[in-house]
Amino acid sequence: MAMIEIRDIYKNYGDHKVFNGLSLEVDEHQVVCLIGPSGCGKSTLLRCMNGLESIQGGEIRIHGDRMTGPGVDVNALRRDVGIVFQSFNLFPHMTVLENVTLAPVKVLGERRSEVEAKAMTLLKRIGLEHKAKEYPDRLSGGQQQRVAIVRALAMGPMVLLLDEITSALDPELVSEVLNIVRDLAAEGMTMLLATHEMGFAREVASKICFLCDGKVHEEGPPAEIFGNPKQERTRAFLQRIIEAGRL
């Protein structure tokens, strides 16, 4: 059984149908990249999986357990499903270390000294231990996004959702963030990425999903999607990406 099963979900914003019977499965230790035109629901899908937005039909199951609809303890869900946002969303009034330790201390009730030690280990791994006492506005975009990833990792999530994490970064800062994702993938972290970085998706993904018209229009291994897409819409989308010089 797949770890995450998204079954036939529906969601509207007024007249606009975001999901129109979308289904998707993610296995444990898989890295799934969601690609597609803007407004196709990549980000919304990630936000629904984390309970930040609700769906109107269908269901999302994790380990066979329904995670949508009434009665779900979303706080518990969010302990296990981490998300990293496009615009970092670090808390500006806290230092890097406080940003990382807030949730483990307050939500998981772990001891501050232990959490801080763990946070410093994680920060060391991404080469930012010297920034631990700095406030986010003293960090570059790439550094902020790396801290945001560590903030999500400090909760020990079972799934990590990455929502266009490099879109707000200057090109030369993208690689430092993607390197962390690469490491996590190598460690076997289950991840879903909404991304425009096609080259990276091709390299790191175990599965690519092309979202369009509220559905997964086409899915398959990267070689197949990028090398030999079957659907006309997928081909057209990738053609435009190539024309923009992004693939």
Partner: protein, 379 residues
């Protein structure tokens, strides 16, 4: 959708943080306690309501407003609180359903029922809190042999003096409408004066700063007193013949002009400098940039704080009673001292509240609309 039985939750995974249970998959907590509390509270509140209503009925007899109509209203009030017990019972039923589902191994159904039970319990407690507040207010009014009601709400006096006070209220409306128009213009002038650039503009900026500092520090009531009595005593030509209302308008314009100037200034300074850069790059002069690009954007942003200041100004029109203008408050004080009862002043209070509430709601609407637009623009 909820007939899932294949799940027990709590798979163990080894990832980064070591061995961990899937915490969202744990069975729901028992909520029977909450449901029981909701039921007890609802029964107590019902009892308290009915007790209060019988007290109110006794009060209606004393006030000689008893009769079939009053009794009917009281009975309706008594029936209106009755449905409070319904969500409490629902809560209890759902909590039992949750237990049954959990015993039957149906975790998803159990969670749904638990959530419903908790919701119903919270609904009960929320409404109970509102009802208790109402009961306390009612108790306050009928306490001490109706003393509170008699002091503030002597209905015959309120009705007999209402038109007199409403007529006097027009003075307040006249003062604040004229003052608001003048404040809009005067405030903008002061704000622009404070932002005049360059070395030559320094004295003007300083004057403007001194003015705003002074009149924001000066209590409005002292300003009205000094201008209202002082200027007519000076015997200055033309100015000495102003009516009391005109003095009040002048004083309020000076005070609120200082506040509104600061609102304008913050609005103007909140417009990003890139807008100035864009306008100046096209060859617009400093004042053209202000006039066509910055102020139009700033005005839209400052409407909510501006209206808040206007509400303050409207309330401060009641201060003109210190210079003897017969506004609503002064008129009400006269009636009140004639009858040795404060009810006419309650009328004034209600009139002020009635004109400010729609504006407060309007401000909320505007703020909401702006936020929606910001969000739409941001995504």
């Amino acid at each position: 959708m909820s007939s899932n039985t294949d799940n027990r939750g709590g798979q163990t995974l080894g990832l980064l943080g070591g061995e961990r249970r899937w915490s969202a998959g744990t069975p729901p907590k028992d909520v029977t306690g909450w449901a029981a509390i909701a039921l007890i509270v609802s029964v107590l509140v019902l009892a308290a309501s009915w007790k209060t209503l019988t007290d109110v009925r006794a009060a209606t007899v004393v006030l000689k407003v008893d009769g079939l109509l009053a009794d009917a209203i009281l009975v309706i009030c008594g029936l209106v609180v009755l449905p409070l017990i319904w969500p409490a019972i629902q809560s209890l039923r759902k909590s039992q359903a949750a237990k049954a589902a959990q015993a039957g191994g149906n975790l998803v159904d159990a969670r749904v029922a638990t959530a419903a039970s908790r919701d119903y319990a919270y609904i009960t407690l929320g409404f109970a809190a509102a009802v208790v507040t109402l009961l306390l207010v009612t108790k306050f009014f009928i306490a001490n042999d109706l003393a509170v009601s008699r002091t503030f709400f002597l209905l015959p006096l309120i009705f007999s003096s209402f038109w007199l006070i409403l007529k006097a209220f027009w003075i307040n409306i006249y003062i604040f409408v004229v003052a608001e128009i003048l404040v809009l213009i005067w405030g903008l002038i002061v704000a622009v004066a404070r932002l005049v650039p360059g070395e030559a503009g320094r004295p003007i900026r300083m004057m403007s700063t001194v003015y705003t500092d002074m009149f924001r520090g000066l209590p409005a009531i002292i300003n009205i007193y000094l201008i209202g009595f002082g200027l007519s005593l000076t015997g200055l030509p033309w100015v000495k013949d102003f009516s009391q209302e005109s003095f009040a308008i002048l004083a309020l314009t000076l005070t609120y002009g200082a506040y509104v100037a600061e609102v304008y200034r913050s609005g103007i300074e909140s417009i990003h400098w890139s807008q100035v850069a864009a306008a100046r790059s096209l060859g617009l002069s400093y004042f053209q940039t202000l006039r066509y690009v910055i102020v139009p954007q700033a005005v839209r942003r400052i409407i909510p704080p501006l209206l808040n200041d206007f509400i303050g100004l409207q309330k401060d029109t009641a201060l003109v009673n210190v210079i003897g203008s017969i506004d609503a408050f002064n008129q009400a004080k006269i009636v009140a001292s004639n009858h040795f009862n404060l009810s006419p002043v309650t009328t004034v209070a209600i009139l002020f509240i009635l004109i400010t509430i729609p504006q407060a709601r309007f401000v909320d609407r505007l703020v909401e609309r702006d936020q929606r637009r910001m969000r739409a623009g941001g995504s």
